[in-house]
């Protein structure tokens, strides 16, 4: 690992701005590391060295001409493979899209290009972002750099393993029920899901439209803030995108002051069901906050109990409809059935062959939940739970600025451990799902190593909708309390992958 690949995005940006390193040099360093290590981590599904270097070259030329496009100008980035890119295949981790090159760039990808951030490659994910481990990727699981036998979280395990393994300084993820925050927690990195609508979803291959949100995966809170500032903003292509800017997250981080910070600990997400080491890390975070002067109180969110159940009705319902377009007619895989190839039979054969087991499971669940006669009992009830959760949160945020919970119930589990137990897998997201149901921002920050297995743990910070700045403020405070103790980001303790 060179100094370059162990640097934060903010540090790299400074190197570039001060002409101490070029974007080409930095991008080359990461490409070299990717080429030697991706076989071990399977972080990337697609790497195109010459294309990445061309982008880096352009960034350098712009800078030479005096044009700095963004605070991250020239810093290379990894992009989750469920965002459309015109210059790289976009598979969403599925065989049904193998080889598909989209005719348009996602809005976020356009913003990265405008910010002069070279794209290193497209990162692995559970098929259509359905999963918590990347084990449901049609292209094999990604590995956790802390222990290559373990999962890097999901669905955005490609991005989390790339960032924590220093195969990218920073990455784009998407979060429907925790797919940015959970992978960040189990890899010792930072991940943020902005307020629903803060970042355009145009070009994000939809899982569940009302829950999906794009966000940053990073080494540090400041890096995440830098990236969120680059990618957020209103987009006329996305009707659900917020009309107004939420302000600068970088400013929120730089101005972070613990004075007057009121923190709520969610009663329902602080006791039962958490691994002992994870619970110990969380208690430590609370103790640190209290010691540093924050006011910490317990808050009650009784409806959180129903969050996972509601989520697994709303998500499959929306997904069953969103995934209907994969029918072989206009793009992607076409599988011809034996016998008479009527359109119905071609569609059926393609979907049979192209979708993996978890995708089929959720399409069937969702189709059932929306069926006439069941709609009210399932989808209707789930929407009511969603309202109740929003009410719980509204009441909680009357008392406190932010809420904190452990991000994940356990540290990273072993590959294969839960793959045949969907319910156990679904419970990984128990703490992250409420933020998606309520549309509020949520973020995971490393808060130590679980003593029993030596693996990283994360603390989740939740803030009211459109107060992402409060979330970044609290995240920055917590991070600085730990950095003061550790002397460096947790991520610097990742084992040397080259010798593993």
């Amino acid at each position: 690992m060179t100094d370059i690949t162990s640097s934060t995005a903010a540090e790299l940006a400074t190197l570039i701005q001060t002409k101490k390193a070029s974007s080409v040099e930095i991008t080359t360093a990461f490409l070299d590391r990717m080429e030697s290590l991706n076989a071990k981590t399977n972080s990337y599904l697609h790497i195109d060295r010459s294309n990445a270097l061309e982008q880096a070259q352009r960034a350098d030329q712009q800078l030479a001409a005096g044009k700095a496009s963004s605070p991250l100008h020239g810093v290379p980035i990894a992009v989750k493979d469920n965002l459309t890119t015109t210059d790289a295949p976009t598979t969403s981790g599925s065989k049904i899209l193998e080889g598909w090159i989209p005719p348009y760039d996602a809005t976020v990808v356009t913003k990265l290009r405008q910010a002069a951030m070279p794209i290193l490659g497209k990162t692995n994910l559970d098929e259509f972002a359905m999963g918590s481990s990347t084990e449901f990727s049609a292209y094999g699981p990604s590995k956790n750099p802390w222990d290559l036998d373990r999962i890097p979280g999901g669905s955005g395990g490609g991005s989390s393993s790339a960032v924590s393994g220093h195969l990218a300084p920073i990455a784009i993820g998407s979060d429907t029920g925790g797919s940015i925050r959970y992978p960040a927690a189990v890899t010792g990195s930072v991940g943020a899901k902005p307020t629903y609508g803060a970042v355009s979803r145009y070009g994000l291959i939809a899982l569940a439209s009302s829950l999906d949100q794009i966000g940053p995966v990073a080494n540090t809170v400041l890096d995440a803030a830098l990236l969120q500032d680059v990618i957020s903003g209103h987009d006329p292509h996305d009707s659900t995108s917020l009309p107004n800017s939420l302000g600068s997250m970088v400013t929120a981080v730089q101005a972070a002051d613990i004075k007057g910070l009121k923190v709520g600990v969610v009663k329902q997400l602080s006791s039962d069901g958490f691994q002992l080491g994870v619970k110990a890390c969380f208690d430590d975070t609370v103790a640190k906050l209290v010691k540093a002067g924050a006011e910490v109180v317990e808050v009650d969110c009784p409806s959180f109990e129903y969050a996972v159940a509601a989520y697994y009705l709303i998500l499959p319902a929306e997904a069953s409809s969103n995934l209907a377009k994969f029918d072989s007619v206009r793009f992607g895989l076409r599988s011809m059935p034996e016998g008479n190839p009527t359109i119905e039979r071609v569609m059926a054969a393609t979907r049979e062959k192209g979708f993996g087991p978890e995708v089929k499971r959720r399409i069937i669940l969702g189709t059932y939940a929306l069926s006439s006669g069941y709609y009210d009992a399932y989808y209707g009830s789930a929407q009511k739970v969603r309202t109740l959760i929003q009410q719980d949160l509204a009441a909680a945020f009357e008392k406190v600025d932010v809420l904190i919970t452990p991000t994940a119930p356990t540290t990273a589990f072993k590959i294969g451990e839960k793959v045949d137990d969907p319910l156990a897998m679904y419970l990984n997201d128990i703490a992250t799902i409420p933020a998606n149901l309520a549309g509020i921002p949520g973020m995971s920050v490393p808060n130590g190593i679980a003593s029993e297995d030596g693996l990283p743990s994360g603390v989740q910070i939740l803030a009211p909708a459109m107060q992402d700045d409060q979330m970044y403020r609290a995240a920055s405070i917590i991070e600085s309390l730990y950095h003061a103790e550790w002397g460096a980001p947790l991520i610097s303790r990742v084992p040397n992958l080259e010798v593993l």
Partner: protein, 499 residues
């Protein structure tokens, strides 16, 4: 397919009460599509007006066209509807290759407009108030062309082609409540209602309103019940009846077909039916039940449409005159007898006559041109009268020349022929064809004297007071003048010269 057995119409009406319900799809003429910026343009090369959104590509999202909402609200207001404070879109899920996303984005439980009514006047002057249940927005599907089969239908085709130019074109579906009490007039009421809708959307310029292009399409629901029965009978829905005549014929056919089945003790299958105009019958489509499961749910990619009261009132101000009120006003202004007016209205010539009058012609002369000579010419050319290459202004100009005595009716017809043949404005035709009434009385008198001299017996008769004998001389004179003389003046001169 063999025609089904039918009960004679009068007998069917005698025995059963007819209940109809009409769903009219109006294709809006917005510049762009409902949910993307692609051109809403009929007749482009296949799959040229497409983008990731209307092709349903992964990652694409819809964004609502504000103009389409405005047009939909305008239609709702014209139908005396309430406008919803908040109208959300839903997804109607079903797989079909013309449907890019395999769901249609449509308003379902929250239509933009609801609870309206519209007055419909039949040819006899009888009026019905048709209750409107709702008008909601939805997107059109692509167009399928089935290749290789005998029928052009999907059954038996070798392959099918999809053109997504139409995918995402904005539609407003107007749904009536059940219409009772039309009895034997039900088919005519159905057709007249569709026509009223078409006239309204055309007058408002929210649709091109051409039925032959599918801008206005009708699905006709028909059910029968024994007279006095309370329970509604099972209905059939005849799809895409695409001309006014087809609407009338299809409803009449379904009444007769269902009456025969019910009278024989059978029951009606709830199904969609296809109307075959060429053979004059309907055939069974797919079975349809109220339990058809489209798995509707609110479209999560769109926020609900919430038109402000100010916006609604602004739109209300732009509404054109109600067509029924306009008819009343025009008939009074023109002083037409009921029959005369109905002739103009039924031939769809209100606009033409109005514009001709506005250009200076008298109402009666305008009416005569459009329902007479011009209708005849259009018929002879096999085109619709509005497609004739002559404008109301040109018709009025020609009429003014007649009124000034510069053209006779006969010459005027030649001028019209010249205009239609593309020879230019009436004045240019008159110039180039040398068409003008001969007002040189010297020439007329010379011709008259010549004719009288060659027909001494006629001269005698006139002198004996048999003035009608002058007709033979008029003919000869007009022939001599190549028709370019005023026959009345010629007659006067003949009588003078015969003295």
């Amino acid at each position: 397919m063999a025609k089904e057995q039918l009960m004679p119409y009068e007998q069917a009406i005698e025995r059963f009460e007819v209940v109809i319900g009409l769903e009219v799809h109006v294709e809006l003429n917005t510049a762009s599509k409902m949910f993307c910026g692609c051109a809403n343009n009929f007749g482009s090369e296949p799959n040229t007006n497409v983008c990731p959104t209307c092709l349903g590509l992964p990652g694409s999202l819809p964004a609502v066209n504000r103009k389409a909402i405005e047009s939909s609200i305008a239609i709702g207001l014209a139908l005396d509807c309430q406008i919803a404070e908040s109208g959300r879109f839903s997804r109607k899920n079903y797989f079909y290759p013309d449907l890019a996303k395999n769901f249609q984005t449509s308003q379902y439980d929250e239509p933009i407009a609801y609870e309206g009514k519209i007055s419909v006047e039949l040819e006899t002057g009888e009026r019905f108030e048709v209750p409107i249940e709702r008008a909601h927005m939805e997107e059109d599907a692509g167009k399928l062309t089935h290749v290789g089969g005998a029928t052009g239908r999907i059954q038996g085709a070798e392959y099918s082609l999809v053109d997504y130019n139409r995918a995402g074109v904005p539609l407003v579906e107007i749904v009536t409540k059940p219409i009772y009490g039309a009895e034997d007039k039900a088919p005519e009421l159905a057709a007249t209602y569709v026509r009223v809708i078409r006239d309204i959307v055309k007058a408002m310029d929210v649709s091109d309103a051409k039925m032959e292009r599918g801008n206005v399409r009708c699905d006709a629901n028909v059910s029968l019940r024994e007279k006095g029965a309370e329970k509604l009978g099972t209905r059939t829905e005849t799809k895409n009846v695409n001309s006014l005549r087809s609407v009338e014929n299809a409803v009449r056919y379904e009444i007769q077909r269902q009456a025969h089945i019910l009278a024989a003790g059978g029951s009606i299958i709830q199904e969609t039916r296809h109307w075959h105009e060429d053979r004059g019958h309907t055939s069974a489509g797919r079975p349809k039940s109220d339990a058809d499961d489209y798995r509707y749910f609110p479209e999560p990619d769109l926020v609900p449409v919430q038109p402000s009261l100010e916006w609604i009132e602004e739109i209300r101000k732009t509404l054109p005159e109600n067509p029924a009120l306009r008819r009343k006003r025009l008939q009074e202004a023109w002083g037409f007898a009921d029959l005369e007016f109905r002739d103009v209205f039924n031939s769809d010539l209100l606009d033409e006559v109005e514009q001709t009058v506005a250009a200076g012609a008298s109402p009666q002369s305008a009416r005569k041109w459009w329902t007479g000579e011009l209708a005849r010419l259009a018929n002879a050319q096999g085109v619709s009268i509005t497609e004739l290459a002559i404008t109301p202004g040109q018709v009025a100009e020609i009429q003014k020349l007649i009124d000034a005595g510069e053209l006779t009716d006969r010459i005027a017809r030649d001028v019209v022929a010249g205009v239609l043949a593309g020879e230019g404005e009436p004045s240019q035709v008159i110039e180039s064809r040398g068409l003008r009434v001969v007002t040189d009385e010297g020439a007329l008198i010379a011709a008259i004297d010549k004719a009288l001299a060659s027909q001494p017996d006629v001269l005698e008769k006139i002198r004996d007071g048999k003035l009608q004998a002058a007709g033979a001389v008029i003919g000869a004179v007009m022939q001599e003048m190549r028709g370019q003389a005023d026959a009345a003046r010629v007659r006067e001169l003949i009588l003078e010269r015969a003295k």
